[in-house]
């Protein structure tokens, strides 16, 4: 049984999702919330296994709640549930400690996979969040240095700090990233990080929250 918290401020959407969760034999809906604060209270009361959080909610958005949960070391795995399809929300969710990102419009099979993956601690990213290189199945090998640079960048570290940490120049950092983009067919940093996550080249656990800035 996977115990689930559902937080969404829109009653019609919430009703639809509730009907789905109740129809799944191995899911149990333990709490419903219409805003950030009540979602947080439900999470701290008796922590569910998986929290499906809407990003845009009154009283603290989903990303803030996910961040708070990660700081409080709650056992709950957070899956972001949103109507937006922006890579930036995916990155923000991941940095906030979310384990999954799924669109509200996705078929129930995908929602189910997101919840199940999250309950097992695996990262899940909705397939309709566009990723140029994600469709390719060719294996990609990153050099240890490239992986290192990508990971530090994914943790939200600025270019010059990555450079000084690895004792290389900022230009070399840029060159390593460019090489990664090229191998992944990615157009930018966010895409490269998401592809690396999706392919299991880097793992969610490695992306601890950057306390300095939330960018």
């Amino acid at each position: 049984m996977i115990r689930i918290l559902l937080a969404d401020d829109h009653p019609l959407t919430r009703a639809g999702l509730v009907a789905w969760i109740e129809g799944e034999p191995d899911f149990e809906l333990v709490a419903e919330a219409a805003d950030g604060e009540s979602a947080w209270r439900a999470m701290t009361g008796s922590p569910p296994d998986v929290a499906l959080l809407d990003i845009e909610m009154p009283g603290g958005n989903g990303i803030e709640i996910a961040e708070r949960a990660a700081r409080a070391h709650l056992p709950t795995r957070v899956v972001m549930l949103t109507a937006y399809r922006a890579q930036q929300y995916v990155m923000a969710s991941i940095r906030a400690g979310a384990t999954g990102f799924v669109l509200k419009t996705a078929p129930f099979e995908q929602l189910r996979m997101a919840v199940v993956s999250a309950s097992e601690g695996r990262f899940y990213l909705d397939s309709s969040v566009s990723l140029a290189g994600a469709g390719s199945v060719e294996p990609v090998e990153l050099s240890p240095r490239e992986k290192e640079v990508l990971l530090l960048t994914a943790q939200g570290m600025q270019g010059h700090r990555v450079a000084s940490l690895l004792s290389i120049t900022e230009r070399t950092v840029g060159a390593h990233l460019a090489s990664v983009y090229n191998k992944f067919g990615a157009k930018n940093k966010t895409e490269a990080i998401l592809i690396a996550l999706k392919r299991g080249i880097i793992f969610l656990d490695e992306l601890h929250i950057d306390e300095g800035d939330g960018s």
């Binding site: 019609l12 959407t13 789905w20």
Partner: protein
């Protein structure tokens, strides 16, 4: 004779000409003064010589009965034609009291035999040892300088003639000197006047003209050096001119800032309206469509076959399409992800724009913009939207490079495309007002937005290739703690 027709340096030439003429007058007067001095000295010398000569050559005459007082001496001086000598001497001075000089007759032992009235005062000039010959200049007992000549007489003894220039030529000399002095003084005064005019009027006016020339109306105030140091220009008119220019500049600044606030309000109101509309779309129609999708999905599970299933599939497809459309509207109206950091927002937007217009957009942004204020980030996003739309629609560009980097106290943002570029005329003198009138409203809007944030926008060709010059839009927007000194 319009002043407009005078060449540029006319004032300088005029001043120099007047100065040169005045200097010449002064120098000529100085020369004439000195030449006149020498001339009068020579005249005086020849005069005393002539008198002595005439006296020496005049034949002796029968004496008139001398006045009793001089009887003894006159007797001794018999044969020396004393009365004629006296008459002769009247010519020395119109006013004998002026003591202009005199004629003395001395015997071979140097004793005074006679002379003109009061001439005995000049006896010390003789001093007992002056040789006959050329006129000499000596200082008399009264301290004045005399021109003196001594000549030996055929009948024995000497005649001595002395004349003081200052007394003899007194009135003539005074008049002449006075005239010369007036000329010199007036030319000197004129020189001083020209200098003063130059220093206190022409130079300040030139500085004001320079200050106005380099002034950016509506942005800066003119800086008048003297006023800044707390000094007021000595000429009232110059001070008034400076004040008038300053007032005009201040007016221009306040007018511009008023206009900027007005534009800023409009932009703000527009952004607010778009944000509100996006939020309503997101919270209302989008959520309803999402709820509908969920219901359709639930219904589809319950009836997995037949015509109903087909209808439900179609209903979900249409609803998904509607949801996507509403999302796109929301993003175009007011991208909510813009608040999650400018670097990511630019990447996100570039990704969407490249799909929408089917072009390649490369974004390279450094990650030093954590403190960028929201209005600045929004401006960059709007500029990117506008620029990409322009590049593709007007320039036919296929590749666009976007760059954002921290530069000093602000952000340097550039968008470079490989399109047809702008016509040279527009770039040589970018007039955003004209662009607006010609329908390049996008560029003019970008410019407005950047100006509103105290930044600068520049449009230039991206390369020197004439066939596909491309366009580069470079923007600098100041922000941060030290950058808020923006008008």
């Amino acid at each position: 004779m319009s002043a407009r027709n005078l060449p540029r340096g006319a004032l300088l030439v005029l001043m120099l000409a007047v100065t040169a003429l005045t200097c010449a007058t002064f120098l000529i007067s100085l020369y004439v003064f000195r030449a006149h001095e020498a001339l009068t000295d020579r005249m005086l010398a020849s005069y005393v010589q002539d008198v002595a000569e005439m006296f020496a050559q005049s034949p002796p005459q029968e004496p008139e009965p001398p006045p009793r007082r001089m009887a003894r001496r006159m007797r001794e001086a018999e044969g020396h034609n004393i009365p004629r000598m006296r008459r002769f001497f009247r010519m020395f001075a119109a006013d004998p009291s002026l003591d202009s000089g005199g004629l003395l007759v001395l015997d071979s032992e140097g004793r005074l035999l006679g002379g003109s009235e009061g001439a005995e005062k000049l006896l010390p000039l003789w001093g007992g040892g002056v040789e006959p010959g050329e006129p000499v200049v000596v200082t008399g007992p009264d301290g004045r300088s005399y021109c003196m000549v001594v000549r030996a007489l055929e009948r024995g003894g000497h005649v001595m003639v002395a004349a003081s220039k200052t007394s003899l030529l007194s009135s003539y000399s005074k008049l002449w000197n006075f005239w010369l002095f007036s000329v010199m003084t007036s030319s000197a005064a004129m020189l001083v006047g020209i200098c003063a005019l130059w220093r206190y009027f022409v130079m300040p006016v030139r500085r004001i003209v320079e200050a106005i020339g380099s002034l950016r109306w509506g942005t800066s105030k003119p800086e008048f050096e003297r006023r800044r140091a707390g000094h007021v220009p000595p000429l009232h008119e110059v001070g008034a001119l400076e004040e008038a220019v300053e007032r005009a500049a201040v007016d221009a600044i306040s007018e511009k800032s008023l206009r900027r606030r007005y534009v800023s309000d409009i932009v703000q109101a527009q952004e607010d309206a778009r944000r509100r509309l996006a939020r309503e779309l997101h919270d209302g129609p989008l959520q309803s469509v999402v709820a509908a999708i969920k219901r359709i999905q639930l219904a589809r599970r319950a009836s997995p076959q037949g015509a109903a299933r087909e209808n439900l599939d179609e209903a979900e497809r249409v609803s998904q399409y509607a949801a996507n459309e509403i999302r796109d509207y929301c993003d175009e109206l007011s991208p909510s992800w813009a608040a999650l950091g400018i670097e990511g927002a630019l990447e996100e937007l570039a990704e969407r724009l490249s799909m929408a217009y089917d072009v390649t957009i490369r974004v390279s942004a450094d990650d030093e913009h954590g403190d960028m204020p929201g209005d600045c980030a929004l401006a960059l996003i709007r500029i990117l939207q506008e620029a990409v739309s322009n590049s593709v629609r007007h320039g036919g560009a296929r590749e666009i490079d976007v760059r954002l980097e921290r530069r000093g106290e602000g952000a340097a943002f550039s968008i470079t495309d490989n399109g047809r570029g702008f016509d040279g005329d527009l770039l040589a003198r970018p007039d955003f007002e004209r662009m607006r009138l010609q329908g390049h409203r996008g560029l003019s809007n970008m410019h407005e937005r950047v100006q509103m944030l105290g930044g600068e926008l520049e449009i230039s060709p991206a390369s020197s290739s004439p066939s596909s010059p491309g366009t580069r839009i470079s923007v600098f927007i100041p922000y941060g703690e030290d950058a808020d000194s923006v008008a």
